[in-house]
Amino acid sequence: MAMLDDKVMQDVKKALEKMVKPVTLELFSQAFECGYCKETHQLLEEVSAASPLLKLNVYQFESDEEAVKKYGINKIPAIAIVGEKDYGIRFYGIPSGYEFSSLLAAILMVSTGITKLSAEAKAFLDKLQKPVHLQVFVMPTCPYCPPAVMLAHQMAFYSDKVKADMVEIGEFPPLTQRYSVEGVPRTVINEKWFVEGAAPEAMLIAKITEAL
């Protein structure tokens, strides 16, 4: 049975008509000890069939060491959204529920080059000296989460210094403890700094500044 029903599939096709440049979905999967690898694989098969500009590569987490290292993958399922280059845009866990919009938004951004960052944010990112790692913890049932994910992914797209992950916390219970996640969205900056909620751009920038 298809993951995406006809109505959603139609919407996906229509959305992907806006694609300009090709995009590759690099999926890291494993046949065992992985909650949603199978479902994520099927989802990406269906999404990538919706546009001739989308390509899917599937790697095995346990055996494709070179790719795992190249993309810095540390948990599965993982998706890297890659265009002309790898921008550091990652999805850990299946992008279902509201996060499906984040997946499509990332594909379209990489393909079209269009972000919604303000001039101030771009100026800030241009001046970044040190690397920034944003991990946005989400639940698929959280409608406030995608804006936080999309903002982080936009920063990763714009700046080589930034990498940004969506992390579906339900699939990685140990991380709940490690990053003390009791509410979503929660954005972790460079492992140590936190922002609760869907922070507006200026607030996230202020927190990143604090973290550096």
Partner: protein, 321 residues
């Protein structure tokens, strides 16, 4: 069961003059959008969240909106409202409005990426959850203190949770959170029990929920282990500690009017209502929870939205002459 929701921006050309900009995509904004699009007004709706619907999106079931004898999922109703409006040509961008210019013939709404311009503006920004304003609340927001059951309810499986509030939201959300929690204390202040009787009956039938009436929460002490909240009974004035892993707060709402302060007349924080959903500024209307009125429901928001769109349509016709 996995589901996949797709809500993306429409590709909207920024350098154009709209007839109407609707700020906020809840039921009021969506209804105004539907009506305005059918009046053939060039209409843009700006919604800050990834999906339209406002508070509908975080409401699990809607039972008091007519036409749906089976309860309808809030997010489904919201999505259907948006699809319907878009069918007639409403354009939607998902951006956060940072500032507005309400005066003059050309109004502006500025977001991080764009400055949108229109002849008229409809304010439909709704409201946000009211906070208790007690020690520990801000510090532990997102770390045990929550205002969104669908977002954070699943973080409390088999845990003990407090829900604060005596209105419909508190009672509905308590029933939702009770699916996860082991034990739930539902507390409200003196004379604060205003939930619909049907919801009170359902709460009474849920064995996990214990009601604690006539009680205020004074302090959230979550740095300690075990975590507790300090509560006070308003009859006996007795203070006590209640161990809870999380606390959900549903004590009403505050209008989202910060953007407009100093530019139009407010009353008690809400946008002051004039006939036909007008405001104190020419070319600016308000609809839904953000306006000063008595009942804030999907059904009343929808009526406001239709009213406002009709008034705007008439105003623009008159302006053309």
């Amino acid at each position: 069961m996995l589901d996949f929701k797709l809500h993306l921006d429409d590709a909207v050309e920024p350098d154009q003059l709209f007839d109407l900009i609707i700020i906020g995509g809840g039921p009021a904004g969506l209804t105004a959008g539907l009506y305005a699009a059918r009046y053939k007004l060039k209409t843009l709706m700006i919604e800050k969240s990834v999906m339209s619907g406002g508070q509908l999106v975080t409401t699990e079931w809607v039972e008091n909106y007519p036409g749906f004898p089976e309860p309808i999922l809030g997010e489904k109703l919201a999505k259907d409202m948006e699809d319907q409006a878009k069918l007639f040509g409403l354009e939607v961008v998902r951006e956060d409005v940072l500032s507005v210019k309400l005066s003059g013939d050309i109004k502006e709404a500025k977001t991080a990426a764009n400055t949108w311009k229109a002849k008229t503006i409809l304010i439909a920004t709704g409201s946000s959850p009211r906070h208790l304003g007690i020690p520990g609340e801000a510090e532990y927001s997102g770390k045990g203190v929550s205002y969104c059951a669908t977002c954070d309810g699943p973080f409390f499986p088999d845990k003990v949770v407090a829900v604060v509030g005596g209105g419909n939201s508190a009672f509905e959300e308590a029933l939702f959170i009770a699916k996860y929690a082991r034990k739930l204390y539902l507390m409200y202040v003196k004379d604060g029990l205003i939930a619909d009787p049907i919801l009170q009956e359902r709460v009474a039938a849920e064995p996990k929920i214990e009601l604690i009436p006539n009680t205020v929460v004074e302090k959230i002490v979550y740095e300690d282990s075990p975590r507790y909240i300090q509560i006070r009974n308003q009859d006996s004035d007795e203070q006590s500690k209640l161990e809870t892993d999380g606390i959900f707060i549903f004590i009403g709402a505050i209008p989202n009017t910060d953007l407009f302060k100093g530019q139009l007349e407010l009353e008690g924080g809400y946008v002051k209502s004039y006939p036909n959903n007008g405001t104190s500024v020419e070319g600016v209307w308000a609809a839904g929870d953000v306006q000063e009125k008595t009942l804030r429901q999907v059904a009343t928001a929808v009526g406001d939205g239709a009213n406002a769109a009709f008034a705007i349509h008439k105003y623009l016709m008159f302006k053309k002459d």
